[in-house]
């Protein structure tokens, strides 16, 4: 059942905490993201944005608190179990299969969701649905001309696009993107925004992003994370005007902040 059917939020975090040793990195985060929303998480370096993603995707176990995906508890589950429930994530540092071709990267990411799981009795070449889905994703991420290139030989921007392709190929309903435009030039990041808009149509998107033009261009709602706490969660215009945010995160004035982070 999808979130829309159950009416539960696509992603709900209740008092989530995470400590490494004595240091508490995430300090009681509450967040509710309805299905179909494009949600950005912003915050200064070290605020715990990536850690939060790692908790939601199951890479790290939470210390206390609960995380629900479409109303179902995922708090103690492994990354692959959470993925099978319909959540897929990308990584800040490109995390692809560098010795496989672009096409194979995408196709590998479709296999589990199409039900082939650990099969050694299917011939890959005969799996038309996997091939079609892979071609479709290749088309979406604009890497069709690089279909048979080894992923490790792609340019940086192409690898970032492939990273997103691998993330969405399995057809997950909730997509987490960790700094999808990090290290990109202006034109590359404009293209990336278009790409993200295209591939997350009708899905729930949660992204961590430093580039404010990307954030304000894409997000329906923005949460501001500072020192492991969400200090504001609202629509972009309200976040812009939020005094607490300007003080704690953006600095004293909006102009300064936009030049610093833009």
């Amino acid at each position: 059942m999808t979130a829309a059917q159950t009416g539960a939020p696509a992603l709900q975090l209740t008092d989530v905490r995470k400590s490494f040793g004595k240091t508490e990195i995430i300090r009681g985060v509450n967040l509710s993201i309805p299905a179909g929303e494009r949600h950005a998480i912003i915050g200064p370096n070290g605020a715990g944005k990536s850690t939060l993603f790692n908790l939601v995707s199951g890479r790290f176990p939470v210390s206390t608190g609960s995380i629900k995906l479409d109303g179902r508890e995922t708090t103690r589950l492994k990354p692959f179990e959470i993925n099978r429930m319909g959540l897929s994530r990308s990584f800040q540092v490109t995390n692809i299969f560098h010795r496989l071709s672009v096409f194979e990267n995408i196709r590998a990411a479709t296999l589990y969701s199409l039900g082939y799981r650990y099969s050694f009795w299917h011939r890959l070449a005969s799996l038309r649905d996997a091939a079609e889905r892979a071609e479709e994703v290749l088309q979406m991420i604009g890497l069709r001309s690089r279909r048979d290139t080894m992923a490790g030989l792609l340019t940086y921007a192409e690898q970032r696009a492939l990273e997103i392709g691998v993330t969405i190929a399995g057809g997950a309903d909730v997509i987490l993107l960790d700094e999808p435009t990090a290290g990109m030039s202006r034109s590359e990041s404009d293209a990336a925004v278009e790409l993200i808009r295209r591939v997350t149509k009708g899905k729930t998107l949660v992204m961590v992003e430093h580039d404010m033009s990307v954030v304000f261009g894409l997000a329906d709602r923005i949460s501001v994370l500072v020192y492991g706490e969400v200090i504001a969660s609202d629509v972009p215009s309200a976040i812009r005007g939020n005094a607490k945010v300007q003080e704690a995160y953006l600095g004293t004035t909006l102009e300064n902040a936009e030049t610093a982070h833009g």
Partner: protein
Amino acid sequence: MNRAKHTLIPTRVQAMAPGMTGGTGALQGGRTIRFQPVNVGRYFVWGLAAVLFAVAPLIFTSGFAVTLLSQMGIFIIFCLSYNVIFGQGGMLSFGHAVYSGLGAFFAIHALNWIGAGTLSLPVALIPLVGGLAGAFFGVLFGYVTTKKSGTPFAMITLGIGELVFACSLMFPGFFGGEGGITTNRVVGEPFLGITFGPQIQVYYLVALWCFASMIAMFAFSHTPLGRISNAVRDNPERVEFIGYNTQRVRYLVLIVSAFFAGVSGGLTAINFEIVSAENVSAVRSGGVLLATFIGGAGFFFGPILGAVVFAFAAIALSEFTKAWQLYLGVFFVLMVMYAPGGLASIILMNLRVAKYGKFRRLLDPYWGLLLTGAAALLGIVAVVELTYFRTLEGFSGSKTTLFGLPVDSASPEVWLTVIVLLVAAAAGFEAMRRRFKREWDVVQEEIEEQVAREVKL
């Protein structure tokens, strides 16, 4: 040490790994370089392999040759099975002989049961017994080893290897102690007059199983599990985020690999009619790793080359010299240093150069390498053989023969000549290698540019 500087063959070749899109290489369209045979090409290659298997003993007819060919076939299965976990799955195992060895023990007991009339099974199916035993121990030991990956995995396999070897000496009832278990393969009802008495019949049994295993393992590398094992090799962490439990992937892949290792073990039992602790030893485990690496773990056919070269070295070379393992060791070191992609990558890179019509330019540097290399080889062989002679047979006098020439191993002149030859040849080789490397890099760069242009078109 800067690896790239010392590497003859750029590591990029390793790139053309199993898992590159079924059949197509770096390019698309009509001018594709095919690093793996596709469709028609693929059937042609398999057909050629079948013909090779069939006619090999008709060309090399001596008893020695047939023995050698049989062992090559068995070793090919073993190396390919190792590459299922190593080259394709990224699991470096130091204990793979456990699966082939235990498979061999079960197979030889099965043979003896057939002989005693307590088991009714055609001898030709004995390798299947080995395979099932191998898979069984894959299920058992793999459950422990595949909980870890990387270095811990390698360490645990080393431990399991030692454990099984120790057990093989502790339980003489099953393992036969120092002497091992012997058998007679000529048992049961002959089928169409095939008794497996003559070696040539054993060869064709090996050839059949080898051919079938090759096809089966190749097919495996093109299944969802096979492809995901490539993904686990490249980036285990990401695999967890596309829905796969990497531990389960490693476990299943290891069981598949152990099955084929067991098949090779079953054939070993038939071929030698004896299985002993040596079959599960670290020496065997090391051998399969060496051979697979020499052949080229990044390519499906690499381990086949490796197995052929290694078996040839182990059997033919050991006829001529006691120092064969030393030569193999030197060869291995040189391969790791200069051609980490193995023989397969050397062949494929040169084919690529030839395809772009630039091989002619490498001919001169190649001749230089070949001549200085041959001289250096002579030098190494002379030093090694003289040393071996002095330490192992020196008591019977200092006179011996070297390359058919009578020499006095105690004479300083002989040693001086040999050492001067070695040093001069080694220096020459190094100079030639640098020259070759320069030319090679230029050629590769030109090809890359050409490839880039073609992609744009």
